[in-house]
Symmetry: D2
Subunit: 245 residues, 4 copies
Amino acid sequence: MADIKVTVWNEFRHEKKNEQIGKLYPKGMHGAIAEGLKKAGGFTVRTATLDEPEHGLTQKVVDSTDVMLWWGHTAHGEVKDEIVQRVKTRVLEGMGLIVLHSGHFSKIFRALLGTNCSLKWREMGEKERIWVIEPSHPIAEGLGEYFELPHTEMYGERFDIPQPDRLVFVSWFQGGDVFRSGCCFERGHGRIFYFRPGHETYPVFYDENVRRVIANACRWAAPRIIKKDACPNVKEPLDPVPAEE
Amino acid sequence: MADIKVTVWNEFRHEKKNEQIGKLYPKGMHGAIAEGLKKAGGFTVRTATLDEPEHGLTQKVVDSTDVMLWWGHTAHGEVKDEIVQRVKTRVLEGMGLIVLHSGHFSKIFRALLGTNCSLKWREMGEKERIWVIEPSHPIAEGLGEYFELPHTEMYGERFDIPQPDRLVFVSWFQGGDVFRSGCCFERGHGRIFYFRPGHETYPVFYDENVRRVIANACRWAAPRIIKKDACPNVKEPLDPVPAEE
Amino acid sequence: MADIKVTVWNEFRHEKKNEQIGKLYPKGMHGAIAEGLKKAGGFTVRTATLDEPEHGLTQKVVDSTDVMLWWGHTAHGEVKDEIVQRVKTRVLEGMGLIVLHSGHFSKIFRALLGTNCSLKWREMGEKERIWVIEPSHPIAEGLGEYFELPHTEMYGERFDIPQPDRLVFVSWFQGGDVFRSGCCFERGHGRIFYFRPGHETYPVFYDENVRRVIANACRWAAPRIIKKDACPNVKEPLDPVPAEE
Amino acid sequence: MADIKVTVWNEFRHEKKNEQIGKLYPKGMHGAIAEGLKKAGGFTVRTATLDEPEHGLTQKVVDSTDVMLWWGHTAHGEVKDEIVQRVKTRVLEGMGLIVLHSGHFSKIFRALLGTNCSLKWREMGEKERIWVIEPSHPIAEGLGEYFELPHTEMYGERFDIPQPDRLVFVSWFQGGDVFRSGCCFERGHGRIFYFRPGHETYPVFYDENVRRVIANACRWAAPRIIKKDACPNVKEPLDPVPAEE
């Protein structure tokens, strides 16, 4: 089986501006995510970041991507609408998209889901326990009943998303909140997975379970077909239509 | 029970440009739809059209609308993005939206669903039989097993929409096609219903079954709550979070 | 609007066998639930219990019920299959069914859903916080963002149910678990709501929020239509079928 | 990749009682289905029939089956409840189940879905056109926009099933009906696919498209995990629960 071609997109600003985050992710979060996928095997991995020309997402890059990962937070508004449209078109044609953590507020996620994608949040470094609701879902492969992140930002309900086509994970937070933290959507011919963990101030993308989920999600979201959109006028009916009286 | 406040939006171009359509709908399609709702009772009905200032959809109009109906076809591109955003915000806050026929390609429908909303089509004036798949759904109230339109434009699959939260009608076309012609969606706090019938060259909006469906849909889509979007930082946890070591 | 005819079914064994539970619910849990519905108004309420003839669910009672509530725990196996089938037939014809707490393992719930309906559980009297995931759902009407039960039995995931048609509540438990505690299903022409709270050793059915949810659920589950099942041979086609060559 | 272990179950009565059907399917419909799967490759195929001891579905056979196909019609009532329960348990543990045509009324399908599974039907040998609603679904792999059966029994709506987790095919019938003819469900850890075609008096199971769908469905329904049901009492909380005051 050929490798799945993954492009890891990262805003890549926190790592450059904040010394502590820079130390945590010396190659950027995209670097840590890419490293995890390479270790898992079966993926050809590229990265792309906001400050590259066309945000690193030229038509050529997008057209040769099977699954894109998206991490953004502080600069959602700087992502050009034209690039968002390019990625959206490709998702609807069949490319997979994995949206991570604060990417819930990215233009691409909101454009594909149509809702505000707002939520509650709190930064106290509390514990998160991610429960596996659908143990037979491919994205949960190899996980136990739950896994934990000892310290993380909290995201709480209500999460303003359309009802997921499949809810795979639900998070428990020490401070008293819950969150739908693993949500599958199908849009056009593409598959979308939203995965909650991934705050920039914690070593989340080095966590073995998080890496496993991301690799599983990339396999799940790999295209089944790639198909251009059309709205054809089919002039000839398949069965006879009598002339109107 | 108070009346449901309905705003019927119509592009209102075909009726002015095409003599035959003008004769068929002398008060515009919006006029015929409004008339049907008034006959049904329980609705306070306004209309709004593309060529009015702000397309007739001022903030005041939108904010005082419970359910909006949308018919557009030839001038989707002329609807201002700012007005689309205004309507979208209101739907996510809880307003109902009924999208009719060629409105499948409207900016508002595509923005709320996130997909292309493309389909197949054919103009031969063929027969359509609309089957009721969910007879207990409020939108099907009072209908039989099916109803027919003797002559209409055909819309065929694949219809590029997210899986509907509820599929109420499926159409059979004489020429050999099928179509998911009554589709319910919930987005934010609002309810959306897509209803296929409504081609401008046929007297569809005078049909008793079509009028019944539209009235049922307006009742179904009436707001349960109206709620502004927010993404709050909840600093105080509900349960104690120990300080990080 | 006519009253909704509710039948509250209770196993009614714990209250008779356990002194403390008997004191907590001197009229049985069914009595407390019925009292809550009467206070809410708009309901005609009857009760029925396991040890009555036909478990209190004669054909006449079932046929004149709009919405049935079901609480069972220790004697699921004693409910006669014939009565289960009677209730199931009625649900598929359009009657609403509200399944409470340990009713997850009742014959009627498992027969209607087709899965095991198993879950995790723990009796430590821990705190439960019930988060409202869909604030615009009719079952959540009048609730805040969450409500709490100070002491209750825990139910945890994985809950072996089909994906709910709508997930309204998710619970957070002090001991670290989460649970999908308000689940809507549509089966046949009937609506089913599973509601987690209701352990016999706590005064849950006197709680104002629990009572509100139960009243809301009874309104939501009230029949839209009542329709007998059929599998008709429709010999005459609606459109001409040429004879086979 | 190891072969998928398929068991094709057939009632196998029509073929023995009706000369014409016997000629059409000299090795039984199970034989024709098995032949199609063998040609497709990647499957180890067994067959089992009603009149064998335990209907050919001993515990050993069931426990070593990845995907079961089910064709029944005239003798649903003769299938022993104990065997139905055995198959159901295995599906909930993760085995795939493909239910064909008149199997809509089988005990196993009704037990897993919880509804009546009734429909409309007509035997006139009319044409069926099966439209692919979800071209990117694995079950539609390699199909065009539609495929046709020149002569077949008609099944029409309303089909009394829970809303499918995914609707892949919708049929158009010459006589004027439509039908949801390819429906995916997930129950427990198992996947279920209902596929409408397969009437005993037509050579449907020799059709290349039908065979392709069945092979695709077997691949789609192959177990992701196999997991016994449990309802554990987890006495130790993961997080501290203070003693009740």
